[in-house]
């Protein structure tokens, strides 16, 4: 069980406000919220794999609203084109020039709903945006928001007419989460809060100022990682490549993301340095999205991997 701890570091108050806002939007999911925050602060992207109606969109909207950024949503369907995501150029009859019409990727928070329903061609259009925070259209490079954050969702149950995400794209997500059903008390609370004014109508004010998120992300990047912890991370990464049940081990990019998420996790815990506990705490969502392994055995495999590598003390 992951619990939020009061943050006494600089920026802690903003972090607490952000945490509170997300907890208000998604009730009873403190653990998930912590991971989402870690992903956001680590400048990663999030893949939500869960059943319909569990609050994925709500969470994405809440994140967008809380950070004060622009929210965009793409409902991924088989006929969705890459231009529908990145934007396209149209000819302006008046100016006799082509004008670029930015697509949804130019938002601060992009929700790619049911991303596995669109074609690989359209999925790959997101690759550049997620990895390099830019979009190239008609050979023209268009930078995205520095706090660009993708929340993609996919349905694990319905497989007909879906296009599994390629490994290259999976590796660009920082973590994969499952929201899961709320418990009984939270559902009762949810029903109670729905009586009266519709939830969509409720005001959702931004809790962060313009550059607050970038500032927090900068602080996270400065969280110290000592050589022994780095060696631990590298050992874990190499262990994934040597494991018999893992067909695709951790890439160097995945290792970088893991370290950044661990930094964010330490920051969320109010620490200025990363410990092996941080590395282990974020291992399941980070490795779950990128290691080639049997999904049902993923949790057990990751646990065994963690057990096999000695923790430096």
């Amino acid at each position: 069980m992951v619990t939020a701890t009061p943050n006494a570091e600089p920026g802690a108050e903003r972090l607490d406000r952000l945490r509170a806002a997300l907890n208000r939007a998604l009730r009873g999911k403190h653990g998930v919220i912590e991971y989402v925050l870690a992903c956001l602060l680590a400048r990663g992207h999030l893949l939500l794999e869960d059943l319909p109606g569990l609050g994925k969109t709500t969470l994405a909207k809440a994140v967008a609203a809380a950070v004060g950024g622009r929210f965009a949503r793409v409902q991924c369907t088989p006929d969705l084109l890459p231009g529908d995501v990145t934007g396209f150029s149209v000819f302006n009859q008046k100016s006799r020039e082509f004008e670029f019409l930015p697509g949804p990727v130019f938002a601060d928070v992009l929700l790619a709903d049911e991303i596995n329903r669109t074609t690989p061609r359209t999925q790959s259009a997101l690759l550049e945006a997620m990895a390099e925070r830019q979009a190239t259209v008609d050979n023209v490079r268009h930078p995205l928001s520095p706090t660009f954050f993708v929340i993609a969702t996919q349905n694990p149950v319905e497989h007909h007419g879906t296009y599994p995400l390629p490994e290259a794209q999976l590796d660009r997500f920082a973590m994969k989460l499952s929201v899961g059903y709320p418990d009984r008390a939270d559902e009762l609370d949810l029903l109670a809060s729905a009586v009266g004014e519709p939830s969509d109508e409720r005001a959702r004010d931004a809790v962060l100022a313009g550059d607050d998120l970038a500032d927090l992300q900068g602080r996270v990047s400065r969280v110290a990682v000592q050589p022994n912890v780095r060696a631990y991370l590298v050992d874990l990464g190499r262990a994934t490549r040597a494991h018999a049940n893992v067909t695709l081990g951790l890439s160097p990019r995945g290792l970088l993301i893991w370290q950044r998420v661990a930094q964010a996790w330490a920051f969320l815990k109010g620490r200025a340095f990363v410990t092996p506990d941080d590395v282990q705490d974020v291992s399941q969502p980070v490795l779950g999205v990128r290691l080639g392994m049997e999904p049902r055995a993923a949790q057990e495999i990751v646990r065994r991997l963690l057990e096999s590598v000695p923790v430096p003390v």
């Binding site: 000592q226 410990t275 963690l306």
Partner: protein, 777 residues
Amino acid sequence: MAPDQPRTVRRATFVLLALAAAAVEVAAADTRPVAHSLGHALVWVALAAALMRIVPVPEDPRAKPPGWVFALLLAFAVAPFVTEPLRRNWTDGGYPLELQMVAGLRNVGLGLAACAGWFLCLRTAAVVSLFLMLFSSAMTNHTAVLVLLGLYAGAGSVWLVLTYWTGLRPALVRSDRVVAVEVEPGRVRLPWVGLTVLLLASSGGVALAVVGPKRAMYTLGELVPTSGGTGDVDPFARYGVGDGPEETAGDNAKAAGMVDTDKLIEDNENSLVDLVSDTYGPPYKPPPEQEKMVAGGSAKVIQTDGKPPDGRRPSSAFDTARKGPKGDRTPADRAARGLFEVEGRTPLHIRLVAYDHYDATAHRWTGARKPVGKHLDPEGGDWMRVGYVRPADWYLRDERHRLKVATAKGNLVPTPPLLTRFRINRVDRPDYYEWDYEGVLALAGRKTTPPGVVVITDCRTLDPHRLPDAAFGRTGADSGSPPALGEVPAALRPELERLARAWAGDRPRGWPQVAAVLAQLRTGYAHDRAAAPPADHPAPVLWFLLESRRGPDYLFSTAAALLLRALDYPARVCLGYYAAPDAYDRETDHTPVTAQDLHFWPEVQLRDGHWLVIEPTPDYEVLEPAPPLLERILNGLRACAAWLARHSVAAACALALGVVAVRRRRRLIDAVAVRWWLWFPGRTWRDHVRGAVRLLERRGRWCGCPRAPGQTVAAWARSVTGGATCDADLVRLVRLTELAAYAPDGPAPAEARAVCRRALVAWPLTRWYLRTTPTGA
């Protein structure tokens, strides 16, 4: 995940070095007990093992080892040269320079194995171990070295498999942990500096030996003592090939080890005549009108006469009327420590002369030479079987001895009694041997037995208490034994018969009677080598038996032989050497026999032709059959029980302390470790905190809740406390540990040491055992 191959390879390398170190110690002094050598090796190996635990494993094994590793290796290499003077002062023993250098190399190898985290050290350690093992194998053919060589071969195979495996499975093993034996790409620079230094050193040594002072040459010669060190400069340098002065085969009379040799040489040593006269005094010279009966003379006369064979043997006559030895028998100088060395059980009687006939008028024993009908038969494996021995059912299994001639006084082939077969290297022709007397073997046609000759003998053993009456012969004309063996001078017979029958009493014929006579002599008479009968006494034996009741061993033997003859037992006396158990040398496992061990004893002939050695002289014993294994075990147990009974209080205290120590060993170790942690807190506060955590981890491990390798300290603490966060001391220590292990450099937290101490106090071993909630913490 693949196994942790590099750690296994490091351990395998260390095993190789440990085996090589043991082999070097055994080979360096292969005459001492193997346990001592292994103990010496164990000290260095334990030191290296402790070092191995301290030396960190580098993150990059391919990196060049840091400077302190070389300093450490240098200290290890120098250590034998530092300890050698101490050893020579304290133990009167020492190694020659060459072995000191090998010991230094052994230490370097162990140090390299301890630092095997660096591939350079690991590979060099393996090469050093190979050199040491080859050196040891070349030095000696000791069984222990051969066993170690076999173990080394097995361990080396495992080492090769492991290194090959790590290179073969890069998919399973991290590439930086692969121990590659291939040549690394890139041009390799020759170590010019090292080569130049080596060349200069070699050239300097040669130049010094050639044009320098002679002493320098001798000193350099001591560096290769196993190839001919002289011992003039370094007293611990050794001679020739082998084990030095005590092991030289061939023309050096100082030989003492059991080395077979083909070289049979002549020498001009003094004869046995001098030795007998030195030991027992010159024989009594009769008045001038009496006929001269003493054979032989000074060695020089014999040598210049050109008739050495007879003169070089002891006289065929022995006067029992003597004046006693003169002067101190301690030799001023001795080339070797003994005439020959005996390997095997002692006491042992080695015949030199056998005397059959006693002349009461002249008071002398005489013996017949060259017994007839005693032939030798060649047997397989260069053995010579003694042909006249007839099997009898009262003998036990044969016992083997090895006797090495060092400074022979004649052409005697030293053999124990009841000989059944013998072997001298590959001399397999019977005509090389002859019987000087019955049971006394000699080299045919030779003046002396060459130094270095090793005689391997198999002899029967028997327990005289089990001999039946029929086993003893009789002296009558129809008994088959020579008449001389039963002769008792008529002048002495009445008194001797009276005495013998009185001593034998009504005991049955056989061993009981013999034992009774021996018991009377051993208990009622005193052994006094200096005592001598008056020169004009008509019967020295009667003087000894009835008047003085003390005398030298030849009077004991003469008395016993004549008394037994009076009881109708065929008996004779023998002159020879007595290998005394007191002289047994534990270091060489040999018993040296010196000129001082010349001895007389009587023998009784058995019906099968064998001569049974009996010992009437006090302080001398006869070799008894080796007890069976069970009896030896029981004897050992009895000895242990007796020792315990003598030291019952001390043993009880030691036992009680031992029991307490065993039962509370963990508490004791923990207490010592905590004290150590308090006294040596480490260089930084981080070391101190890590030490505290390790102490707690050890307590947890002992009590069944160890920290798994993949478990963080925080997770382990949570599992220990059951997730309870109320244990403030442990929580604080966990936070402190995280700070110490993972935080960037910074000032020490306040009360860091106090937090550690509180956690150690709050979580003692008892609490780990009980795993209860803290009370007052």
